[in-house]
Assembly symmetry: C2
Homo-oligomer: 177 residues x 2
């Protein structure tokens, strides 16, 4: 169990990469991630601001419970994660218990390390590019300053799952010319 502090913003990937290089950030990994968020069999996790996520990365998988976000522009919430041996079997097991797939988020994540801060540059299918900063120690203000320094765009409070769900519920043809 861990308390994570996260801030996220829209980003221009080329600009962020250039800034990260200037600041001496170290590229840790590049991963294709597929996240499935589940609806609970008898509780509205959306209403209680909780989430159950199964993440598949390459052959590995992890199951994460996320507790309600605490107030503030940064995202601080309880997270409990276990690695699981097999994403498909874990999905089958959850469905047999009555959990149902609610949202699926696919993204390419470039992960950088900048001191004690993890910087994720994400390209999310259907949503575009974002930069997310996460730290166990740093205060929210420092993360917000670092976002500005990186030249990121507007702050985003919603999770990717919420943004994908919102995009999917737009009326057909809305916004198209």
């Amino acid at each position: 169990m861990a308390e994570e502090v996260e801030v996220k913003a829209r980003a221009d990937p080329e600009r962020i990469r250039r800034k990260l290089a200037e600041l001496g950030a170290e590229l840790v990994s590049v991963e294709e991630q597929e996240d499935v968020y589940f609806a609970h069999p008898c509780k509205d996790l959306f209403a209680s601001d909780e989430a159950l996520r199964l993440r598949a990365v390459g052959g590995k998988a992890e199951l994460t419970y996320k507790g309600p976000r605490k107030p503030g522009s940064a995202k601080s919430r309880l997270e409990v994660t276990v690695l699981v041996s097999d994403a498909a079997a874990a999905e089958a097991l959850l469905e047999l218990l009555g959990f149902k797939e609610a949202v699926r988020v696919r993204k390419r994540r470039e992960l950088y390390k900048l001191g004690d801060v993890e910087v994720a540059l994400d390209t999310v299918e259907g949503l575009g590019a974002f930069v997310e900063l996460e730290s166990k120690g740093a205060p929210e203000e420092r993360l917000a300053e670092l976002l500005k320094l990186l030249g990121a765009g507007e702050l985003v409070r919603e999770t990717y799952a919420e943004l994908v769900a919102k995009a999917a519920s737009l009326p057909a043809g809305s916004g198209s010319a």
Copy 2:
């Protein structure tokens, strides 16, 4: 996912070990297992003859869903298992989702291999000794014959979880001299 066929009977451990040696069975492992069975947050798994079990063995842990048993003296049911990295974190995650510990079963399991049959000689805390035969291929009749050949006692249809729950709900002092 796999269909398992199992038969189980009360046993005299010394007698079973002697018979297994005569038949040329091979000792595979000796493990201390701790199983936690969970109550579902909104469904009576006991009534639907399903089960969710978290098994801790040494440092390893696995989470298993068991479907309803099919008719017959052998136990044939759907099982879906995933290995998890951390039993304590998995238990915390399940409890955050509303699952509650219902029964805890501790046992010492000696596992033998006899051809294509797995023979488990179990000493279960509070219940005594049992022998359990499991096979993916062998028909139920052959397993029942093998039980007889091993000199096992009466067949037991209930799971250990059911037997432990039953023992726990006996009125205080019942059966004591």
